[in-house]
Amino acid sequence: MFDLDIWREIFQSINKNKTRAILTGFTVVFAIMLFTILFGIANGLENTFKKLFLRTADNAITLYTGTTSKPYRGLQIGRRIFLNNEDLDFIKSEFGSQIEYISGTLTRNYNLRNAKKKGDFTVMGVGPDYQYSEKAEIIDGRFINLKDYNNKDKILVIGRLVEDDLFERESAVSKYIDLEGVQYKVVGVFSDNGGDSQERMVYAPTTTIQKLYTGNKKLDRIVITYNPKLTVDQALVLVDKITLKLKNKYNIAPNDQRALRTGNRILTEKKRLDNISSSLGILIPIIGFGTLIAGILGISNIMIFIVKERTKEIGIRKALGASPKSIVLIILLESIVITTFTGYIGLLIGVGALQAIGSSLERYFITDPGVNLSIVFSATIVLIFAGTIAGFLPAKKASKIKPIIALRNG
């Protein structure tokens, strides 16, 4: 039953006791505001972590082959599978924009020498895209380009430490290196933050290695860098699709784990991300819970204060015939009205503050701070609920006050 009179009573009481209402309201505004802001900032922190890890997470997928471990389509176990240059075009045409870079690699160890020095190095045949997959940084000259690749030119791009070893203090660019009796021109020097072993690598066009040393178009590996716009989950689907296509092409059983394998850091990264998310997932509720508890305590205190302040009024009302129930009702409804209204104000201020913060705190690892409105609404409801319970006990006590005792003080 909607009783207009009781609402009139409550709004009059709020209206005529503004200090009291503001005091209660302030606690709620503050609690919800803090809750919203802290939650938003925690979310911003999580956003940063996500972004950070995806940036450093290599979005490269490596495909490599072995021997079949399951019979399939009438073919026997133990078949050696090789990827070749055509697979690069095949994958590119099948997956188009989902793939950013792709290159085939062949790795061999060779003895390299020039006029002064010699040494054993790992030579890797790669395509022009490989620079981006490996994130090798050119510090002198250039990387292998498409022309080198298509012409099967005898050129090398060497790691910084190779340059140090073979050329001592001099620049290696435009100088020649003897590789198993064939002269190669050095076109570039790179550094790589992947460590010393990476900087001891020597890159040559895959096609050159194939032409001069292997005599076929076989590849050891295919390195694919997927479009960074893909989410982790989408990337995992992409990996599955690529392997399935290739397995189909090479007549490998779809569940054969050995013939065609993928090495990717997506899965492990995802796991790491999940770990961080889950620890933030513990932290965020703790923050929220703490703020809420503070808010609840604040409301409880104020409710006790309000009931105390209204003791005389309660006594008068009881003397005039107010039932205990009606006393509890007016006190609780007043607190609910105030909490709801001011909770909403706190929400607005909090969301507003988060928007004002925006991207200005990015250097403190807070990206796009924001809150799920439904969480804040639930928090407000929890606060209202808790405030009601907190107010209920004093209100109940007040309703039991004997009017004479209430009337005696004053």
Binding site: Q12, K16, A319, L320, G321, S323, P324, P403, G410
Partner: protein
């Protein structure tokens, strides 16, 4: 109207207890105006509170208008207070954020009367105490005498069978006291039964009967010749 037999009441004080009322017998008829007198601690306020159902007796019988008042639940006590009793307090006990009209209308609100009706009725009673022009003023904007008149209007609003006054003139100067007493006498003339606690002799003599309490027992209970307040103003 009012029948009290062997009423006892004691209050616990620490481990012992203070026996405040030690067997009160009192009978009040319709239309009487009774002053309950006694020094402080004599139990006069306690008696009034029990009669007003603001407090409960330990033992004894209390019958109000043929109704046995015993073991009341809070809810029932509230209902009876609203229906049968009107209170006038020494400190007025008006709700400070409500204006005169709203204060007078409050018991009617608890009777469940419609807003329009109770405002009309409240205005009628304010008119009776001569405060129509002050209907929309807050208690703090009124003098003590005016506040007590608002309180009287409020006590009358629910048309109670019994009017209980606890030192109604205790906070007022003499002239205002007599004004208020004149009102109360008028109400009695119109047939209202009135019970009043006071320690002032002149006020007590404006009633029709004086009951003197000492140490929780009635020492004296006598009808007197009423002194009209009007002459003294």
């Amino acid at each position: 109207m009012l029948e009290i037999k062997e009423l006892h009441k004691s209050y616990p004080i620490g481990d012992s207890s203070l026996h405040v009322l030690k067997g009160i017998n009192l009978s009040v008829k319709q239309g009487e105006m009774v002053a309950i007198m006694g020094s402080s601690g004599s139990g006069k306020s306690t008696l009034l509170n029990i009669i007003g159902m603001l407090d409960q007796a330990d033992s004894g019988e209390y019958i109000l208008d043929g109704l046995l008042i015993k073991n009341l639940t809070e809810k029932k006590a509230a209902l009876y207070r609203n229906k049968f009793l009107g209170f006038i307090f020494q400190s007025f006990n008006l709700i400070n954020y409500k204006n005169a009209l709203e204060n007078v209308a409050l018991p009617l609100y608890y009777q469940g009367m419609k807003r329009k009706d109770r405002q009309e009725l409240a205005m009628f009673h304010l008119e009776k105490v001569g405060l129509v022009d002050w209907a929309h003023h807050l208690p703090k904007e009124l003098s003590g005498g005016q506040n007590q008149r608002v309180a009287i209007a409020r006590a009358l609003a629910a048309n109670p069978k019994l009017l209980l006054a606890d030192e109604p003139t205790g906070a007022l100067d003499m002239n205002t006291s007599y004004e208020i007493m004149e009102f109360i006498q008028q109400l009695n003339d119109e047939g209202k039964t009135i019970l009043m606690v006071t320690h002032e002799d002149d006020i007590a003599h404006m009633c029709k009967r004086i009951v003197r309490l000492r140490d929780g027992v009635i020492m004296e209970d006598s009808k007197i010749d009423q002194v009209r307040a009007k002459k003294n103003v």
